[in-house]
Amino acid sequence: MVAPLAILLVHAFWSVDYLTIQRSFMLENFRTLLTSDLYGRVLGRSVAIAAVVTLIDIVLAFPVAYFLAKKVRRHREVLLLLVVFPLWSSYLVRVFAWKTILGTSGILNTFLLWTGVIEVPVSAFLYSKTAMIITFCQVWLPFMILPLYTVIDRMPNALLEASADLGATGRQTFWKVILPLSLPGLLAGSLSVFSLTLGDYITPTLLGGPGDQMIGRLVADSFGMSNNWPLGAALVLPVLLIVSILIWGAGRFGALGRTAS
């Protein structure tokens, strides 16, 4: 029993330890960070993209989660497994696939040309914020569906029926009953999607344009190519800070009751 506890302790140290390293590095790098508005812009852009992706995923995931939890009777487990499976199939592969889909001679362009929506292939699909947002939304979608499914599944049907019985329309039931009760799952899912998007560097590298850098990419480059660890470490701090505040906030709403993400 000593070994796991020791590991747990070491673990705790990692986060703390990490922050102390940070502190000594920060002094040198803080000036760079504050004086150059590049970092502020990149961070702002990253947060904005993460927020947009989270919102889109909520909209996409809600009907699916509701449908699986309340409407499907047979093969529900198979459908759930189908939601989970993409999570466990290489993330890299899925991002890479979008490059194929969105490319100039890719599926999307061919399809649009065929339907006559466009007349010349659009190259702007790839290497743009749109490409990044589409990819992020698709790649992290299961993280939104699963927690939403869990909370909606637990919602007693009688509650929804009671709402209808009391004269609420479907829309009113959604806003007054389903949505408030889904809040823990919604927050848990949002937290995952937001935090995963904010920290990512794979998608920006493969699908982002030159002006679409995200904070994760800057961090990765500082540790990789430019070999400026202290700067990278200082850059990652705001990311961790934002996510930690969100975790704390979500935890207060009971969003961390989930077992696995």
Binding site: M1, P4, L8, P63, V64, V83, W88, S90, L240, V243
Partner: protein, 263 residues
């Protein structure tokens, strides 16, 4: 829009990229053009002769197995401790263990790199194993804690009541009942480690894992060979997920047995 239609479209969206990868791995053309003109197995042949990829594959398997093994041992032990004893800071410990899968990979990756450097460890397959094990532990731990929570608490008491020492109770009762959850956690841990890029990027030594090798090549340009490799990875993941799901469901079934009277 009707719910079933929305759901169908979302499922389409979820599987579109995977389908594309698998499809293009059989495309004869070097360029990912649609529609696919002719089909070939060349990329798989090339894959089989690509020493770099085979070495990376081997490394990924070794790291996945090692990380999963560490996670299984430590995760199970920690889960038992959390389930059985009430101690101060129990929630804090669960929280800390969950951090590696809650925080963005970039943060934990950088943190681990800083920590290993502080210990003056050279980045190598060992740092990858330890790094992967830390997030794998959380998977096993969550799985096993959930399973232990489902077990009626009085099974252990019944065993003691019938004269079994705590040690025998563990091996005769507790362990057989949580084995499916441990195995499922282990399989998931392996699958996750096998796919991992974000954290691995910071912890790699000279030899790349399979995802890292693919990542390196992708940055240079598209190669249909990558599609073939990706298809193989998807297959491995599929097997892993199916396996762990089957194990977990087997476990859930014996869980129903334990509470069979509640009906």
């Amino acid at each position: 829009m009707g719910l079933p239609l929305m759901t169908a479209l979302v499922f389409l969206l979820l599987y579109l990229p995977l389908a594309v990868v698998v499809l293009y791995s059989f495309s004869a053309s070097e360029v990912a053009r649609w529609p696919i003109a002719s089909y070939t197995l060349d990329w798989y042949r090339e894959l089989r002769q690509d020493r770099e990829i085979l070495a990376a594959l081997r490394l990924s398997v070794v790291i996945g197995l090692a990380a999963a093994l560490i996670a299984v041992v430590l995760g199970t032990a920690a889960a038992l401790a959390i389930d059985r004893f009430d101690f101060p800071g129990k929630h804090a410990i669960r929280f800390v263990v969950a951090l590696p899968i809650t925080l963005p990979g970039i943060g934990t990756g950088v943190a681990k790199l800083s920590f290993f450097s502080l210990l003056t460890w050279e980045m190598s397959r060992w740092t990858l194993i330890v790094g992967h094990a830390t997030f794998c532990i959380a998977l096993v731990l969550n799985n096993v804690v959930a399973r232990l929570g489902q077990l009626p608490r009085n099974l252990g008491e019944a065993s003691a009541d019938l004269g079994a020492s705590p040690w025998r109770t563990f091996w005769r009762i507790t362990f057989p009942l949580i084995r499916p959850a441990i195995l499922a956690g282990g399989v998931l841990a392996f699958t996750l480690s096998f796919d991992e890029v974000v954290v691995s990027f910071f912890l790699q030594g000279r030899e790349p894992t399979l995802p890292l090798l693919i990542w390196g090549r992708l940055r240079i340009g598209l190669s249909p060979e990558i599609n073939a490799a990706a298809t193989v990875i998807v297959l491995v993941s599929l097997v892993g997920v199916l396996l762990s799901n089957r194990l977990l469901r087997g476990g859930a079934r014996s869980g129903e047995m334990a509470t069979g009277t509640s009906r």
